[in-house]
């Protein structure tokens, strides 16, 4: 039985692993099933649609078509590894798995295989230190930036003083959710607020006891690090205990339509961080409608266009495509390798003028990568949910994080990683 199965598997897999030549191959380790699918579907759609747009409108990047290899991970690390191994042959250029767990798996593997890993706004924060993490890029923002921006925003709300305030952190009890704890602990020392940690276990449908605890302790603010079904449940529970929504701030992964719509009017006034703008007002959407949607080439059901996470997937695809362009310019050829693309990522600069040219003016912050800085400026916006209009409104401009606190933490964590894995610092 075992042998028969293995033989059958051999035959099938040998047939499937024929690489396409000369195209730009971008695997998409997406998840459209499981408890995190509400976040995974729009992101994957946005990611695919942007490359479809480039293929349809411009004939690819630099004359080379982009081929997307999608693989379903279900947010599961074992399947993520399987997907990585299945797609890495045949010239895969870059990975963007949208999962902190899978990112942690892939960081050492991809450094060994020489393929860049792009993790905008998630993954391992200290990968921002390019001196240690040669193959990982997480600009424009990361988790610790997010934690710092949230606190900075609360500082402006409280005239620069958070002394004696109580802040609760409701977080997904995993690597992802634990990321901000270290930063928030440091910031609580600096600004004198007390931090309560309230973990929620995977997948997060059961949160009654956590919100009873919040009702009992009456924190002034609640910060949330949630993903997937956990967000919607948390917002519903917060509404149930009448927690003032304007004092409830989610990270950017807790700020999509899927999270607030189930709570109806109860979610009115809920805030979240945002690392880019959202909505259909940007000129690029005209092209997406014309070349992708109306041409019947939309990824998935095509019903996610213009949502927060669709925009984020599109933004990730945009940064990757710009890095490919840069790499093509550096290498002087259109069909680049993964190593060329790494150089492209490292020398990438996206200016406001370039964003406007791409049809996304004032969408994201401009940034410039260097050999040492793979993390970007890290600023973020605050958006607020208007339940009547069913719309996110930006309530602040870009807020910069507190680099005085973050830089030493990043240096400390990346140095620990370098020591564990015998990595010599680059970028002398």
């Amino acid at each position: 039985m075992k042998k028969a199965l293995a033989a059958l598997a051999t035959a099938t897999m040998l047939m499937t692993s024929v690489p396409a030549s000369a195209d730009l191959i971008v695997p998409n380790l997406s998840y459209r099933t499981g408890p995190y699918a509400p976040g995974g579907i729009p992101y994957a759609d946005g990611f695919n649609d942007y490359f479809t747009l480039l293929n349809q409108r411009d004939g690819g990047i630099g004359g080379e078509k982009v081929v997307i290899r999608e693989c379903e991970t279900a947010y599961n690390t074992e399947k993520g590894v399987e997907c990585y191994e299945a797609t890495k042959g045949g010239g895969a250029l870059v990975y963007n798995p949208l999962s902190t767990g899978i990112t942690y798996q892939l960081i050492p593997k991809m450094a060994a295989d020489g393929i860049p890993l792009y993790t905008p706004g998630y993954g391992r924060t200290s990968a921002a230190n390019g001196k240690v993490f040669e193959w990982v890029f997480n600009y424009p923002s990361n988790y610790w930036d997010a934690a710092s921006v949230a606190i900075r925003y609360l500082l402006t709300e409280n005239k620069g003083d958070l002394k004696g305030k109580k802040i609760a952190l409701v977080y997904h009890n995993s690597a992802y959710g634990k990321e901000p704890i270290r930063t928030l602990t440091e910031l609580s020392k600096k600004h004198g607020f007390t931090l309560t940690q309230v973990p929620v276990d995977h997948p997060g449908q059961e949160q009654k006891s956590q919100w009873l605890q919040i009702r009992r302790e009456k924190p002034d603010y609640v910060i949330m690090w949630g993903w997937g079904v956990m967000n919607a449940v948390a917002i519903q529970e917060a509404a149930n205990i009448n927690f003032p929504m304007k004092n409830f701030i989610g990270v950017w992964w807790s700020g999509s339509e899927n999270d607030v719509l189930p709570a109806g009017m109860g979610a009115d006034g809920y805030k979240s961080l945002a690392m880019h703008g959202t909505g259909m007002e940007y000129p690029v959407y005209k092209d997406i409608k014309k070349y992708v949607l109306d041409a019947g080439k939309a990824s998935g059901a095509g019903d996610q266009v213009g949502s927060v996470l669709y925009s984020r997937g599109m933004y990730a695809a945009l940064v990757i495509s710009e890095a490919i362009r840069k790499a093509q310019a550096i290498a002087g050829k259109a069909s680049i390798t993964a190593a060329d693309l790494r150089n492209g990522f490292e020398q990438l600069e996206i200016t406001e003028a370039r964003m406007a040219e791409l049809g996304l003016p004032k969408f994201g912050q401009p940034f410039k990568a260097t050999c040492a800085d793979h993390g970007g400026p890290g600023a973020a916006l605050i958006q607020q949910w208007d339940a009547k209009a069913k719309k996110w409104n930006l309530v602040t401009d870009f807020i910069a994080p507190d680099d005085d606190v973050l830089t030493p933490l990043i240096m400390e964590d990346s140095a620990a990683y370098a020591k564990e894995n015998n990595i010599a610092e680059r970028c002398k």
């Binding site: 499937t16 459209r32 099933t33 767990g101």
Partner: protein, 358 residues
């Protein structure tokens, strides 16, 4: 026919009680071994190692472990995921605390640590059995996962709560870490699996195994004929946890390289291994292999057919895959409630009599 008994005479007790009494089976077994050790390592690449063989080998170890407890000794356990986590965290702590000790010793020590924890959680089995014991071991599952999430000492105070395997070498070749060649990963797991399966087979047909089976079949009768339920049950828990701990250690260090306890060792892992032994066949070593192969390889195979060959959308394929695997499990258990092992045994019986069945 291939399976014939005529001319296959046994002239000693040793020959009569061997694991593969039929010559054709014996040859087949040595052939499989020769291919596994002598051919596969030369052909294997990263995809085959990481997506197919290494998970299969590791799950086979875990399935043998659970089969010893549930299949041979009749003690239902839903704590497999938790015990695998003990193995993984023990291995991690040992690897980081004593980097100079050979890695294989850490793996074995992790097995012993898990055996200790397993005995601790096996204590209730002296008073309760069946569903009640399943709930007690379920408590172990949740407690252990909670513990490894809660106490930062276990993950060396890392910011994310993940444990990451540092690079360790055997004879100058990396067996953990990103630089591990595919064949080294495969061979390391294969050798451990081979040793453990051999040990399990011999344990289960010796006096220890007979005691376990006596307890399984009827514990009161076993006690009357002189089997001490305390030592029998606790030894089953210890041996089973030893195997599962080793599987957990390999799962973390060789296969994935980094794990997060809630995600990698959650309740679904306990169910997965339990399904493996139910489908493979309770109380059989071959069944553990067959069950692990069924549940590890089939989804990968289906994914490759549905997405790779037919070009279906990945989400549709993922859902269909769940339905097919689930449906096949039901069909298998209706056709043969005693699992793949029994199916295989019946097929062999029929082949031995072919072409004159009675």
């Amino acid at each position: 026919m291939l399976y014939r008994e005529a001319g296959d005479f046994k002239t000693s007790y040793v020959a009569d009680s061997q694991t593969f009494p039929i010559k054709f089976d014996r040859i087949r077994y040595y052939l499989v071994l020769a291919i596994a050790f002598g051919v596969v390592p030369f052909l294997i690449n990263d995809y085959w190692a990481n997506a197919v063989f290494v998970p299969f080998l590791i799950y086979a170890i875990a399935a043998i472990g659970l089969n010893i407890l549930t299949g041979y000794c009749g003690q239902v356990s839903l704590g497999t995921g938790g015990f695998m986590a003990v193995g993984a965290y023990a291995c991690y702590k040992l690897m980081t605390a004593m980097p100079d000790v050979p890695f294989v010793i850490h793996v074995v020590l992790a097995g012993f640590v898990t055996a200790g924890v397993g005995v601790l959680f096996g204590l209730p089995s002296l008073r309760i059995k069946g569903f009640y014991l399943a709930v007690a071991t379920l408590a172990a599952q949740f407690f252990l996962v909670w513990l490894f999430n809660k106490v930062p000492w276990f993950y060396n105070y890392s910011a994310s709560g993940q444990i990451t395997a540092p690079e360790r070498t055997m004879f100058g070749i990396a067996v953990t870490g990103a630089g591990t060649p595919a064949w080294a990963k495969y061979l390391f797991c294969l050798i451990i699996l081979f040793a453990l399966a051999w040990l399990a087979r011999n344990l289960t047909r010796g006096s220890v195994g007979r005691r376990w089976m006596a307890i399984r079949d009827m514990d009161i009768a076993a006690e009357i004929i002189g089997v001490n339920p305390l030592t029998a049950k606790l030894s089953a828990f210890a041996v089973s946890s030893f195997y599962i701990g080793i599987a957990g250690a390999l799962f973390f260090s060789v296969y994935l390289g980094a794990v997060e306890v809630g995600e990698a060792f959650g309740i679904q892992k306990s169910f997965l291994v339990l399904f493996m032994i139910i489908i493979g066949g309770l109380g059989s070593i071959f069944g553990s292999f067959a069950g692990a192969a069924f549940l590890v390889l089939l989804p990968v195979l289906l994914k490759n057919i549905l997405v790779g060959q037919f070009g279906w959308a990945t989400d549709l394929a993922a859902h269909i895959e769940l339905m097919i695997v689930g449906g096949l499990i039901i069909v298998f258990l209706i056709v043969e409630p005693h699992g793949l092992n029994q199916l295989w045994r019946v097929a062999k019986e029929k082949l031995r009599l072919w072409p004159f069945p009675h």
